[in-house]
């Protein structure tokens, strides 16, 4: 059997995830550089029609099984174990998102294969796949290579543009059966986010606060700014975990993806988990005490300073520009 390069298709709640197209765009480049076909692997139940947008791949393996209707890492990994063992691809891209986290590591562990996580780029050098991984909250990158094949690549969002990996035609589909056991883990229900709060994904201006805001009592400064700019406040993970803001205001991996006209990142370092949710904002302004904070790599304007000093000054400056006398109000 000719060797292939594989991409595992992520889908969730009846939709192919954006990262699948990103992975296909990247996988296409790697497969071409290796001179092998690109194969997409779709695991699920009654989702064959999803192949319709996966035309970037040369062919597709479809595994239909009732136990694959929701991602349970060990069940998905078990299905992949059987496929990888039999077909021996050169490498496998597995998305590293909240939906798929754990699948790649388990697959690698079960088959004693190498896994490289947090990949944001792959390229072929002298016939071997090299991965560029993002480490330490975006402060470092490493080039890694595997000593054995197939290697599993845990892909982070944003490696390629999703639109470059989407082709609306179905590749040839091969249906394959696997045998799966009832897993000791079962999804009981989804819990939807609480409704009623501001929908931050619909705001034109967002004032986002991170660890640099230091305490709940300082949120007022950000709220004043948001109000004067006609927007809303939102936050990065640490602020939500502290309970200073509801989950509905979280931007990033577990939260929402936003694309406002203006995103003011106040005391946010810019870890990849956060930036994947806001990097496409039209104008990004960042304030952080750390001049090396990764947020400055994607911001349009930056200020190295303590947000607790900048926020009052900025509120004052905006008030005077707008002719608002806050003290009289």
């Amino acid at each position: 059997m000719a060797a292939e390069f594989w991409v595992v298709v992520e889908h969730w709640r009846n939709q192919v995830s954006e990262i699948t197209y990103e992975a296909l765009a990247l996988g296409r480049e790697v497969a071409d550089q290796l001179g092998v076909p690109l194969r997409a692997v779709l695991l699920g139940h009654n989702v064959k029609e999803m192949a319709q947008s996966l035309g970037k791949a040369d062919s597709l393996i479809y595994v239909d099984h009732p136990l694959l209707s929701e991602v349970v890492p060990e069940t998905d990994a078990e299905a992949l174990v059987q496929l990888v063992k039999e077909r021996k691809p050169r490498g496998v891209i597995v998305p590293l998102t909240n939906v798929s986290l754990g699948v790649g590591t388990l697959l690698a562990a079960r088959l004693r294969l190498p896994v490289a996580n947090f990949c944001k780029d792959l390229k072929v050098v002298d016939g071997k796949v090299h991965a560029k991984s993002v480490l330490y909250g975006g402060k470092m990158e490493s080039m890694v290579t595997a000593d054995a094949e197939p290697a599993i690549f845990g892909l982070w969002p944003g490696a390629r543009k999703a639109e470059s990996g989407r082709i609306d035609q179905s590749p040839p589909v091969e249906e394959v059966a696997v045998s799966l056991r009832e897993p000791p883990i079962r999804l009981q229900r989804y819990i939807e986010p609480e409704a009623g709060d501001v929908d931050i994904s619909q705001q034109e201006v967002l004032v986002a606060v991170g660890r640099g805001i230091q305490g709940r009592e300082n949120l007022e400064l950000a709220e004043t700014l948001a109000k004067d700019l006609g927007g809303a406040v939102c936050g990065s993970r640490p602020v939500i975990d502290q309970g200073w803001m509801p989950l509905s205001r979280q931007v990033g991996k577990s939260g929402l993806t936003v694309k406002p006209k203006l995103y003011l990142a106040m005391g946010i370092s810019g870890a990849p988990e956060h930036t994947e949710g806001m990097k496409d904002s039209a104008l990004i302004v960042a304030v952080n005490t750390d001049p090396h904070a990764p947020i400055f790599n994607i911001a349009h304007y930056g200020i190295v300073a303590d947000v607790l000093e900048v926020l009052p000054a900025l509120n004052e400056a905006i008030a005077s520009k707008k002719g608002v006398d806050r003290h009289a109000a």
């Binding site: 388990l106 896994v115 470092m140 990158e141 939807e192 993970r237 509905s248």
Partner: protein
């Protein structure tokens, strides 16, 4: 309820990080090591479960700079037993670290049977695998990650775990115990423990030292770091400089120009 929490020390990314002279990994000589953030949440979740339902919490970690402080802090917060695994090769990556942890969990008296084994869902440098699924694989247990709430019912041998999905959606799972969970965030922020209490614990309690078992399998990681570097960026923000008032006025001008003010 017997709860194990696997902890790991990682470089504090708030500090300036430098690449080592061999360009393969961080220069660890001057970095400050801190408890990995999601591990801190795993510890908190374990303590909350213990407070709710009773039981025993054991924390264990591979030796690292500042580890004793983190382990004493865990004891001061309410952990019952703290173990430091010594003698492992310096700077082992996650896959070998998880292997060593799994060996210790299997071999040391009193650790198994455990009902819950917790770890942070992900650390900054989990380059060659994530701890929780690696432990689950080695111990032959179920795994669920990105967990933010965990309720165990030992009478039926099951736990109810809430996992985060994108967009603020969460999923409620039923998990047969024992199982390994990667904790993203505890139900409450990790508790604060006064220094005086940690000092008192240093006098009254001990950290157990356990030698790392010999590795039967070498080259477990199977990945090689060719080079580590600071990110090469395609762009960088235009920096506004000056005292707060001056940068604020400058920023107002930029926003006004774009019709945002």
């Amino acid at each position: 309820m017997n709860i194990l929490v696997a902890l790991r020390m990682v470089p504090d990314v708030v500090e300036e990080l430098e690449v080592a002279p061999d360009k393969k990994w961080l220069d660890l000589e001057f970095v400050r090591m801190v408890l990995s953030e999601s591990d801190d949440h795993a510890l908190e979740e374990a303590l909350l479960i213990k407070e709710r339902q009773g039981g025993k919490v054991t924390v264990l970690a591979l030796d690292a700079p500042e580890l004793d402080d983190a382990l004493f802090a865990a004891l001061a917060k309410g952990a019952d037993r703290a173990m430091k695994i010594t003698g492992a090769e310096k700077g082992v990556m996650t896959r070998e670290a998880a292997h060593i942890l799994a060996r210790v969990i299997s071999n040391e008296p009193g650790l198994l049977p455990a009902d819950l084994i917790l770890s942070g869902t992900q650390a900054y440098d989990d380059l060659d695998g994530l701890v929780a699924p690696l432990l689950a694989d080695e111990l032959g247990l179920p795994f669920l990650g990105i967990v933010t709430n965990l309720q165990a019912d030992l009478s039926v041998g099951k736990a109810r775990a809430v996992k985060e999905y994108p967009g603020g959606v969460r999923g409620e799972f039923e998990v047969a115990l024992p199982a390994v969970f990667g904790i993203q965030a505890a139900e409450k922020p990790p508790r604060y423990v006064p220094v005086a209490k940690v000092r008192a614990v240093m006098k009254s309690q001990k950290i157990e030292s356990v030698p790392a078992p010999a590795m039967e399998e070498v080259g477990l990681s199977m990945i090689q770091v060719l080079e580590m570097m600071k990110p090469q960026v395609s762009g960088h923000a235009v920096m506004l400089e000056g005292p707060p008032q001056q940068v604020s006025n400058g920023l107002c001008g930029i926003l006004a120009e774009r019709g945002l003010l």
